[in-house]
Amino acid sequence: MSLLEIKNLHANIGEKIILRGINLSVNAGEVHAIMGPNGSGKSTLCQVLGGRDGFEVTEGSVEFDGLNLLDMETEDRANAGLLLGFQHPVEIPGVKNIYLLKESLNAQRKARGLGELDTFAFMKQVRELVKSMQMDDAFLHRGVNAGFSGGEKKRNEILQMLLLQPKLALLDETDSGLDIDALKIVSEGINRLRGSDRGIVLVTHYQRLLSYVEPDFVHILYKGQIIKSGDKSLALQLEAEGYEDILKAAS
């Protein structure tokens, strides 16, 4: 049984049709990359899978770890092991990062029938993660993403991911706005989540992230459909030739 099974997914925003029949199957242990030009529906796909209001699913189904994902509340999706990494993580001043980390970890542990992690163990784990992401401890006591640079926000997303250890990480343009050093740190973080029991879906414009996090499969999303799938060489071909030829060949 695959971890994520998307079948013929159609979705609208208002009158506008964005997703026109997406099929995608992700097994545990696999890394998939979804690439595509602007407006192809990449972010919409992430938002629909995350459970964002405002999108109407008109057709199709999504099964996640045996559950009907589209019937679930956003928080229940998270508690079931889905993590959405945001392209533009929102700023929440007043809520400290450390508080967010603790609340989310405990909410997810509770949903899985586990007790709260004791503060000592929690802090130890968090400090190690902060260090591994080459961030400063002071970050923990700042408001969530408040006044963060683009790179800091993305590192924060990966830090949360590593703490929450999702079964499936769906990372929406995590590489955008990163300089080369930050890209390396973020990529190392993603690679640490890789494992036989987890799946990762990277949504990206560029090949460069994929040099650090090698995908098992690459899919090209265009006008709300996956028009071509292949292995990592597809991403390289895309990088070399641009979208135009591939889109022509596919149409």
Binding site: G51, R52, G94, Y99, S104, V144, L164
Partner: protein, 488 residues
């Protein structure tokens, strides 16, 4: 039925387990004239000076008109239709009331108990709040006596205002109306004429009050009526922390509440006055609810004295309230920390006045307003630096948080400086709880309700930090309940 509606239904229905009973009280016929004022005073067996004071206030009130400048709207109040006196119940009447009360918590509506649990009300208080016959809960008389003895040992006087009129008339005469004069404003004048009862606190020179006052007494203090009058005096070097109110929803058949609180701090004295207000706010259509028109003022009369107001305002249909400080003594300090939350059709016009008269006086204002539903929430604050107030300083921070897009937050700061050496800072922000923020937190496994609470509590943290510990915990819970269902 959504959770919001459940809460609404809970707070808006007849409070059959609570304080409202259908037992007839001895009530003076509605209407207000000098005879009624005399009757109130006579019934309470008051000394002549107090009657004269009431009459003077009444005569002044007749010449006044209700303030129209606040950002609130309500139909005119017919003061001749109100009743101004309800006699204390006779033993027989009290027995009948008690007979109708639930005998134990088992007989109380589980939903009400659930709400108390949500608010974190201590177990022994829940029964009393739910109207369970008091002797079945705890012997309140003996509890009161125990604490009174403890207070008396150090010379602290803490009793009802009526009691103090008889036991300490000299103190009442000396301090009553010296902070809020009888004719100060329309509602204060009305209160001065007809006030029912309230609390009196006196901390003698050099004494640090050994406990937070009113924590243990608040249940008993609940039925003090619509025209409450409180006077707190801290002599030289004295310290006191006073807690008013309760997070449990309070219902009252009187729509108009016009209380007066006066604080007097002499040299080196400190008074900390904390309020959690949760009067019935009306239903989700804006029907009913309490009008809370309160005058609270502290006089930092002595040098190096300090007065701190901390308030969490969650209830009432209309709130008109400006706890203020007169910084008369040199080096005196005034502080105002406020969280005002409004939902549905609630209207809040609240803030403070810091009147700097003494040299090197300092004031701090931190006001946080949270508006949800179709509510209107205004901060109104005056910082006045008198000619005499050399080197005075004020710091004001006004933050507004909006939940939804059908409500309004307003800021009306007034700054008057007559002394060039003054330093005045004013900062204001308005932020909105966005769908993006809620979605972000939900995507990490946090429920919508908790997500809102995290944002709101983060926003209010600075004020909650000023509350006594047990109040702070209840206040957080109160905000959560008040805002339930307001997002999404």
């Amino acid at each position: 039925m959504s959770e919001q509606h459940e809460i609404e239904a809970l707070v808006s229905r007849d409070y059959k387990y609570g304080f409202v009973t259908d037992i007839e009280q001895e009530i003076i016929p509605p209407g207000l004239n000098e005879d009624v004022v005399r009757l109130i005073s006579a019934k309470k067996n008051e000394p002549e000076f107090l009657l004269e004071w009431r009459l003077k206030a009444y005569r002044h009130w007749l010449t006044m008109t209700p303030p129209a400048w606040a950002h609130v709207h309500y139909p005119p109040i017919d003061y001749q239709a109100l009743s101004y006196y309800a006699a204390p119940k006779s033993a027989a009447e009290q027995a009948e009331i008690d007979a109708n009360r639930p005998k134990s918590l088992d007989e109380v509506d589980p939903k009400l108990l659930e709400m108390y649990a949500k608010l974190g009300i201590p177990l022994h208080e829940r029964a009393a709040l739910a109207g369970v016959a008091v002797d079945a809960v705890f012997d309140s008389v003996s509890v009161t006596t125990t604490f009174r003895e403890k207070l008396a040992e150090v010379g602290v006087i803490f009793c009802s205002f009526s009691e103090a009129v008889h036991s300490h008339p000299d103190l009442i005469k000396k301090y009553l109306g010296t902070v809020v004069p009888a004719g100060d404003n329309y509602y204060a004048a009305l209160n001065s004429a007809v006030f029912s009862d309230g609390s009196f606190v006196f901390i003698p020179k050099g004494v640090r009050c050994p406990m937070e006052l009113s924590t243990y007494f608040r249940i008993n203090a609940m039925n003090t009526g619509q025209f409450e009058r409180t006077l707190i005096v801290a002599e030289e070097g004295a310290h006191v922390s006073y807690l008013e109110g309760c997070t449990a929803p309070q219902r009252d058949e009187n729509q108009l509440h016009a209380a007066v609180v006066e604080l007097v701090a002499l040299d080196d004295a400190t008074i900390k006055y904390s309020t959690v207000q949760n009067w019935y706010p009306g239903d989700e259509h804006g029907k009913g609810g309490i009008y809370n028109f309160v005058t609270k003022r502290g006089d930092a009369r002595g040098n190096r004295s300090k007065i701190t107001w901390t308030q969490v305002e969650a209830g009432s249909a209309i709130t008109w309230k400006y706890p203020s400080c007169i910084l008369r003594g040199d080096d005196s300090v005034g502080e105002f920390y406020s969280v005002a939350v409004s939902n549905n059709y609630q209207q809040v016009d609240s803030g403070t006045k810091m009147i700097h008269l003494g040299k090197r006086t300092r004031s701090t204002i931190v006001s946080k307003s949270i508006s949800a539903g179709r509510s209107q929430n205004a901060y109104r604050g005056l910082v006045h630096i008198a000619k005499t107030a050399d080197d005075a300083r004020n710091y004001t921070q006004c933050d507004a948080l909006l939940i939804g897009d059908r409500n309004g937050a307003h800021t009306f700061p007034y700054i008057e400086s007559k002394n060039a050496s003054a330093q005045i800072e004013h900062e204001a922000t308005t932020t909105k709880v966005s769908d993006d923020q809620i979605f972000y937190l939900k995507s990490r496994g946090i429920t919508e309700e908790n997500a809102t609470n995290m944002i709101v509590n983060g926003f209010c943290k600075e004020v909650f930090n000023e509350l006594p510990m047990e109040f702070a915990v209840e206040a957080q819970a109160l905000l959560a309940v008040s805002l339930e269902g307001s997002v999404g």
